[in-house]
Amino acid sequence: MTDQATVFQAADLSIGYRTESGLLPAVRGASFSVHERECFGVVGESGSGKTTLAMGAINYLSENGRVLGGSSRLRGQEITSLRRFQMRRIWGSRIGMVYQNPSAALNPSLRIGEQLCEVARRHLGLSRRQAGEASREMLGRVAMPDPVAIMQRYPHQLSGGMLQRCVIAMAMITRPELLILDEPTTALDVTTQAVVLDLVAQLTKELDSAVLYITHDLAVVSKLCDRVGVMYAGEFFEQAPVRELYHAPLHPYTLGLLGCVPRFDPEGGKHLLASIPGSIPRLDRLPAGCIFAARCPFVQDRCRASSPPLREVRPGHFSACLRWDELPTAAEYARSTPAVPAHKEERPEVLHTVEIKKSFPPTERLFGSGGRKSMSVRAVDGVTLWVRKGNTLGVVGESGCGKTTLLRVIGGLAPRTSGDLLLDGLKLEASVQRRPRKVLKMLQMVFQNPEASLNPRHTAGRAIARPLRLLAGLSRREARGRVSELLQAVNLPSVFSRRLPEELSGGEKQRVAIARAFAASPRVILLDEPLSSLDVSVQASLVNLLCELQEKNNVSYLFISHDLAAVQHLSHWIAVMYLGILMEWGDAEDVFAPPFHPYTEALLSAIPVADPDIRQRPIRLEGSVPSAANVPSGCRFHTRCPRKIGRICETETPPWREGRNHHSIYCHIPLEELKRLQADTIARTTKGDS
């Protein structure tokens, strides 16, 4: 480990932005190093300065950014003082970059091949023909099917996962010494993400590169990285080898972050997530002393006196906390929050769907593009499920599985094509416009994007008051009082009722949306991925809030998400959805233990778990999700199923196999057989194992 050469080293790097209100110190005194064949992860929430750090470290800042001090060295060579034309020989050749949004990172007007070749010609001095060959070879290395054809395509013709692989190929074609990846998988599906991460791990080992991986996702980092640094508001709070960081972090912020991530614990009981109260300080109003003091559960007076430096407190482990040796382990911290009692009793059903189907006709416009799809899109193809009173049903699946459409059908925003919908025994109309007030009162919704779900021109108070006046029939004065109560119930001060959405943070907006959903005291609330666009710590506090509100109001949730961990934490029952139908259904504990449906199994193995000791057997699905306009015959998963048993999967639809406690799996393979085959999908390794 120690004789690995240092490829990149930043020492005391400070970066600032010139703004109207003065110079903002975005990064202060950051030091870190990355070695050959090592992956160093930089973890931080939004506003932590991690992207600024990376950009500044490679000397690429916008007009108003500048390096204020410190140095960064690439193989010993100081690069902060280099001019642009000198950096141009380093960028793209010795340093490669992969970005968050692959479709934005590629020029939409140039062919893929051209964009790869120009790098090869510029830095490797290859001729056009040689560059073409090198590009094709690289595309093959990133497992692109048919590299020759891909070279001729334009970015808009490829999917997100394929594009990201092209970007990786583009970054690695010059065998860079340092590869920087800035949230490269955030925009991708879970299973695609798994493939891309595998690829990065494999390539960097093959090509001896040093990798700097920037992300907010603790789970990914735990799988991919050797060492991790945690950033907060422009400073490093901790740096350590990955195992040590996860099991015994030496900074309260790291502890808090780890506590915010729902622990995927098949055996352990459920605890409320730890959350970090308060919010990140503004860069122009940094407190004296430790900048985390205001939010730290372990704070003492000496913390506020002066800002603690980042010191090596154990070999290879750096911490910026004065009380580093007094902190609990991650496991202890997670258990320190109150346990959540498990619901075991059978409760009455409150929402029931029967064979819901929703198809979209092929697109037709009067002077339109002329139907290319002559088949209709079967977004939801026969879903039967139920939600019990006071419980949460979580529906998981990847993009395109139809879960969002299902939710919208239940909400009446997209009228169903066929099937029945029963709420407390009442049959619901297909379209929300035809549902009577008393039904609307019982069923409300929280949307995915807090930015878009609140009217920018309405104050929070008005947003919450509207359902009170419309559905609960309150007078203006009564509504105002209730608005205050609701705001307090979601932990917001009542003065927020006069704020506009633009004056609220993402988490606060979502709280307002939750308050609005609860306003008329519904029985069932539909939640459409309400957490996905939020920071980890914000997610944790909202998950806690939702649990708490459910307890108090005895309300049921139908919660859809692709985040398996959050779903497992919140849900009592889980349904797994693929291409318009359910594949597995059962109690939360049962679904996440063998036997699984093969699709569930693949999902579980693809989603990284924030624990470096849990080894997931990589099950990678072939190909991509078939189009809902062209559903495969028989078991619709057969085109990608790693456990396909034969012709029967292609010709006959599978039976529902029911195990204990209503646990059902839609598969041709019998349950005992599945259980036997899947015994080692997720295993916990102890320190001796590899």
């Binding site: 490679i58 690429y60 007009e63 950096m87 141009r88 020989r89 380093i90 960028w91 793209g92 050749s93 340093i95 970059m97 970005y99 949004n101 934005a104 990172a105 590629l106 020029n107 939409p108 007007s109 140039l110 120009e118 790098v119 510029r122 830095h123 334009y154 808009h156 013709q157 970007v167 583009m170 002077f367 593009s369 002329g370």
Partner: protein, 314 residues
Amino acid sequence: MLRFITRRLGLVLLTLLISSVLIFLVTQILPGDVARAILGRFATPQALANLREKLGLDRPLLVQYGSWLMHYVQGDWGLSLSTGEPVFPLVMTRLRNSGMLALVAFVMYVPLGIILGLFSALRRTKVFDQVVSITSLAFIGLPEFVTGLVLIAIFAIGLNWLPSSSAIRPDSGFIAALPRLILPGITVSLVSLAYITRMTRSSTATVLETDYVRSAYLKGLHPLRVLFTHVLRNSLLPTVTVIAVGIGWLIGGLIVTESLFSYPGLGRLLLFAIQRRDLPLLQAITLLLVVVFSLSNLLADILYALLNPRIRYT
């Protein structure tokens, strides 16, 4: 792609058809009996009736329209009521003249507008950009007759470099007419120049902020390569559309400028037709101009689709 073109063409033809109906109907309301205008105020009712029948003015409107349209597409545009000459050759000569003027203007404002817009966007926080921005905004506000008169005052009367009137012989050649085309050419260009500059500036500024331009820089490519291959290819796309829509403005500008400089173009002929209530001439010119405008829009749409891979390879 072919389907795209044919569909667009169909739409344009439909639009033109409806436009022709509109033109025809509107001009029918033109006050002033046509027959009386030809025969004079003292014509007898019988003579008027005879002439009306001869001109076909007593037929139902639909038939009149149909007949007019049929003749129009075959190039028979009737006779001018004021001069008695065939309309088609007269309009064609004037069209050629206006075309020469438009060409001179086009050659001036399109390249200059793009270059100014580009430079302005590339030096965004500097003085150059501010100056260009405000100047272009100012020029958008100056009507052609104002700028034309000022230009005449400075260059023709004051400095005596260029002729103040562009009353060329209607059939003179391009080279011979060139000196007289410069001042009106500049006049009619200025507004369009301002538009092109602003559009190019804003779209280039947007493109410069995109992720793919950032990744182009971070690939270590030479800035000129980034500019030409990555930036321009995308930022000039909206400019194509603006140029096409600007043709509509150009036509309006030509009408005013030709009047100001006494230039024998289509615009001046149009004004003449309006003053004389010369129905056939008016109809012919209006429909022609609408066709020209529609075709230029169509061309721009097709060009845009060709240049934008997202549309070309759907």
